[in-house]
């Protein structure tokens, strides 16, 4: 399948390995990955902080870029069949916020009335990595080997906005050599919440403290998740406290040990 990668701004700038591993994994499974070079960001930070007017051009830009990627090649597009992002949160924003912002801004006379429908069309073919693998490509054993003790944190947006359910766990269980340990109170938020982590830093930290305690009870070497943002938060705490557990994006585990050799 020909698939467009939406790397997400955070992975692009700060955590490129999550996006690189997604490319390496999909190519290993025999798919063709394209990276629409015009892409930037989904606008979630703006929307979730209340800046919908400022988010509007970012949303419009995202829709333009991926609409073109999805357009058949005969019509000048990239002819991809799906868009994938290594982030539940950014896909949640594309799927659940873009049309909402477009409608609100259209009501204020700031956005084109057709934008919401275009955003919905792009969103309908945009998938989070575990969704793409399990639902679209119909694979759970991706042939990876990862001989480490790992615990999985289901991020809030993948769980409650996208309802990925146990798809990431099914993928992890099929990884050879991986010792998967259940995370206590796994579904509790890690406290990131975008600008919440700065605006309400004390509460955010209190939530993080409990997440770190849960991670520690698992005695894992690695905590994984489908979102670089939540991993940045959990990892930021683990690093500050020198816990010794590291954070690794789900895509990197599925790419398999030694995947960096393909870089």
């Amino acid at each position: 399948m020909r698939i467009a990668l939406f790397a997400t701004c955070l992975a692009d700038a700060m955590f490129p390995r999550a996006a690189q591993a997604t490319v390496v994994l999909l190519e290993r499974l025999g798919h063709e990955v394209v990276f629409p070079a015009g892409q930037t960001c989904c606008g979630q930070m703006h929307v979730n902080t209340g800046y919908q007017r400022e988010a509007l051009p970012v949303v419009e830009h995202h829709v333009d870029v991926f609409e073109a990627a999805l357009r058949p090649r005969a019509q000048g597009g990239d002819g991809v069949e799906a868009v994938v992002a290594p982030s539940g949160s950014c896909v949640g924003s594309v799927r659940h916020q873009h049309a909402v912002v477009a409608r609100r801004m259209a009501d204020q006379g700031r956005a084109d009335a057709g934008l919401a429908a275009r955003a919905e069309a792009v969103a309908a073919r945009t998938y989070e990595l575990s969704e793409l693998l399990v639902d679209v490509l119909r694979v759970t054993d991706v042939g990876a080997r990862y001989p480490h003790r790992v615990t999985y944190h289901p991020t809030c947006h993948s769980l409650r906005m996208l309802r990925v359910d146990d798809k990431p766990l099914r993928l992890l269980r099929a990884v050879h050599g991986l010792d998967l340990v259940e995370l206590p109170d796994a579904e509790q938020c890690c406290g990131f919440g975008g600008t919440f982590s700065v605006k309400n830093a004390d509460t955010s930290t209190a939530m993080l403290a409990d997440k770190i305690r849960a991670v520690q009870t698992t005695r894992s070497e690695v905590v994984t998740a489908g979102d670089s943002s939540c991993l940045m938060h959990i990892g930021g705490g683990l690093s500050r406290l020198r816990v010794g557990t590291k954070t690794v994006h789900l895509a990197e585990i599925l790419a398999g040990e030694g995947w960096e050799a393909a870089l």
Binding site: V23, V58, H61, V100, R160, E187
Partner: protein
């Protein structure tokens, strides 16, 4: 009397401060987070009730259908509110009750006060009333208003009583004294409960018996009761209160005069609709299949109810005060009106990771937790961050941001209120209000606004974005051993407790251009 309904009015600013606390949420939360007793009680209580709720909800295979039905009924009520309220008024009146309409808190308090005064005589005035636990009367600050007029309002719900005796404020919709432990409760009883046994221990049963004895004396002497209502049935004029202790039923049956204060959104069209809500409410709120006491009353009794003297049983003088207090303004906002679907079960509080750690007082409103964060700003109004806002902003304005948007509240809500989407909507409203205020000449944009505008300018163009990424890569200079331990404000709020990894030597798009650049 109904002409103002359905017409958007301005949200009310309540003078009694029952919706607007003294501190912003971050400031109040910081204090609460340091309270060990509070953290322990909250952690224990919320996790216990979460487990109970999950168990009883899991028993029903039609739970999702029930939630959908509850949401649909409430949406229908909001669409037809004026007409249904008139129907309710007609049916209550036809069965011997009296209906009063209150635009705001002050009007409601005045109405109740007049009714309480009218229940007495010049020689024998009413000096106290008994109260059924009610959010609406807390919202209007009724107890304080009655106290100013020399009338004592005695709370009869055990937890409310504890809060009242200690001159405290509730911290949870359903478990108002969730922040207290047994030893504290014993001390509160010893210090403030009239005629209490000085040998009182802190055993739960002993404490409950002490409260029982005190309340029995109070019930038997009471001439007026004030209640809220969980539901009102438009087609019959029936009011309903659900509770666990039975003290509410004492209030509803013993006194001669019963005054019910109810938000106009508590309405249900038909008796049949109760079937849905009497399943949704107890399972969501106390984690019980059914609540121990469901009291319903329809007008004043006119036939003999079996009292010794053959007089009709129960209160003879029935009043219903229908309260707006910002609700029609809330109804006018299509994206915000779902907040009026709330049945005050408090399931969203119990699953909220923020509430679980800060407790209710941090919200500064009688409505705490996720529902408080969306209801309070709509009832009380947000003020933006204009020139005259207090430092750190208006406390109410900080409430929509008191959430990580984790979405647990939406999943728990028995009437499917999409609280996370409403929080995002209210944040946008807040920013737009603040921006409109800043458009006054001479006022600079806030630092946050400037940063957001700059980021948006960068994020709408890949060239600008990759240029900005190169700037970010300079952050590697700040890192030691691959991590950054300290950043300047406002990002210092992050680095006080969390590291930041060093930016990568090569961004993703640089890698792509280097390895696959010829492909697209």
């Amino acid at each position: 009397m109904t002409t103002f309904l359905g017409m958007p009015g301005l949200p009310v600013a309540t003078e009694r401060g029952t919706l607007r606390g003294p501190d912003t949420f971050p400031v109040a939360a910081r204090k609460a987070l340091g309270d060990t007793q509070l953290r322990k009680n909250l952690g224990h209580a919320t996790s216990t009730i979460r487990a109970k709720r999950a168990r009883v909800v899991g028993e029903l295979d039609d739970w999702e259908e029930l939630r959908a039905a509850g949401a649909a009924i409430k949406a229908d009520v909001m669409a037809r509110l004026p007409e249904l309220l008139v129907q309710l008024e007609e049916n209550v009146t036809a069965r011997g009750g009296h209906v009063h309409w209150a635009r705001d808190a002050d009007e409601a308090n005045r109405i109740v006060l007049d009714l309480v005064r009218a229940a007495g005589t010049p020689d024998d005035p009413v000096t106290s009333v008994v109260k059924v636990k009610s959010m609406a009367t807390q919202e209007i600050g009724l107890n304080e208003a009655l106290a100013e007029a020399g009338i004592a309002a005695v709370e009869t719900d055990l937890a409310e009583l504890i809060v009242q005796l200690s001159d405290d404020t509730p911290s949870h919709i359903l478990v108002p004294a969730i922040h207290r432990n047994r030893a504290e409760i014993r001390q509160i009883f010893l210090d403030h409960m009239p005629d209490v046994d000085p040998g009182l221990t802190d055993e739960p049963r002993v404490l409950a018996m002490a409260a029982r004895a005190y309340l029995r004396r109070t019930f038997l002497a009471a001439r007026v009761a004030v209640s809220g209502a969980n539901f009102a049935i438009a087609e019959t004029g029936t009011l309903a209160v659900v509770e666990s202790e039975g003290n509410g039923r004492m209030c509803l049956t013993l006194p001669q005069t019963l005054v019910t204060v109810m938000g106009i959104e508590k309405l249900l069209p038909t008796w049949r609709d109760l079937e849905v809500f009497l399943q949704l409410l107890p399972r969501s709120s106390t984690g019980e299949r059914m609540n121990p006491y469901t009291s319903m009353w329809t007008g004043a009794p006119r036939t003999s109810g079996g009292t010794a003297d053959g007089a009709p049983d129960g209160p003879q003088d029935l009043h219903l005060v229908l309260l707006d207090n910002g609700r029609t303004a809330t109804l006018a906002d299509e994206a915000g009106r779902q907040a009026l679907h709330c049945i005050r079960c408090s399931a969203c509080l119990n699953v909220c990771p923020v509430y679980e750690r800060t407790g209710g007082h941090a919200y500064g409103s009688v409505y705490p937790g996720p529902i408080g964060a969306v209801l309070t700003p709509q009832l009380a109004g947000m003020h933006g961050h204009g020139a005259d806002a207090p430092a750190g902003g208006d406390p109410v304005d900080t409430l929509p941001y008191a959430s990580s948007l984790c979405g647990a509240c939406f999943d728990a809500c028995p009437v499917r209120i999409d609280i996370p989407s409403m929080l995002v909507h209210l944040r946008a409203k807040h920013v737009e209000t603040a921006q409109a205020q800043r458009r006054v000449p001479g006022l600079p944009a806030s630092a946050e606004n400037a940063a957001m505008s700059a980021a948006a300018w960068v994020m709408q163009d890949a060239g600008r974005f990759s240029f900005a990424e190169k700037g970010l890569q300079l952050g590697r200079l700040l890192a030691r051993d691959g991590r950054i331990r300290s950043l300047p404000p406002p990002l210092s709020a992050w680095t006080t407790s969390r590291d930041v990894p060093a930016p990568p030597a090569e961004t993703f798009r640089q890698w792509w251009a280097r390895t696959r650049g010829d492909r697209s």
